[in-house]
Assembly symmetry: C2
Homo-oligomer: 118 residues x 2
């Protein structure tokens, strides 16, 4: 049976960037928390939307035609197939990310770490 | 194309309880915000998990064998098929709830309001 998740406690349990922790599962989707800093890579998910909710810090989600900036308490869904690059230029960002379980479609040379249970 | 969502601004736009607003969509699932106070009804969702993330206040999710209490920054997923009753006994609660789009399976006599775009 599922257990309640305290996000602050989960965030306190790790320090690596771009290393998502799966803290829960919803209908086969991972509810992930992640700390990020600096630039990720341009990518798109052909089969899924990509959900971001920023809890701390300020995240730029660069799209090819604009940049969406999210602060604490702000969310954005990148539609499937849309190229994007998450960038944290102004300090560490803590966020919730939702993707289907097992989503690892960026290629072996990407900076994405495997999702681990956290 | 999607737009970023500021949760505080969305919460400021309505005051009714148990009247979820759909603020985004992720792979056909509604990302909903809702203000609640008092008791909901016992129910289960046979076809879907039910995701709760509390942002303000304290929510009891009563299960048949225990009660899960969530404060700000705490989340819980009620597995599909599991009977539960959300209750806010100690003031208003603001939360994010994720369910498949169109989930209205509580019957006509439930207090659940239709989900509206907000």
């Amino acid at each position: 049976m599922n257990e309640p998740v305290n996000l602050d406690a989960k965030f306190a349990s790790f320090s690596e960037h771009w290393a998502p922790r799966r803290v829960a599962s919803y209908n086969g989707n991972d509810i992930r928390i992640v700390k990020v800093a600096g630039e990720f890579v341009w990518h798109a998910h052909d089969d899924t939307d990509d959900f971001f909710l920023v809890l701390d810090g300020e995240l730029d989600i660069e799209l090819r035609d604009r940049t969406v900036t999210l602060g604490p308490g702000e969310l954005f869904v990148v539609p499937r197939g849309v190229e994007h690059r998450p960038v944290a230029r102004r300090g560490e960002v803590r966020m919730i990310n939702i993707e289907p379980g097992g989503t690892h479609n960026l290629g072996d040379d990407s900076p994405q770490r495997p999702v681990i249970d956290g």
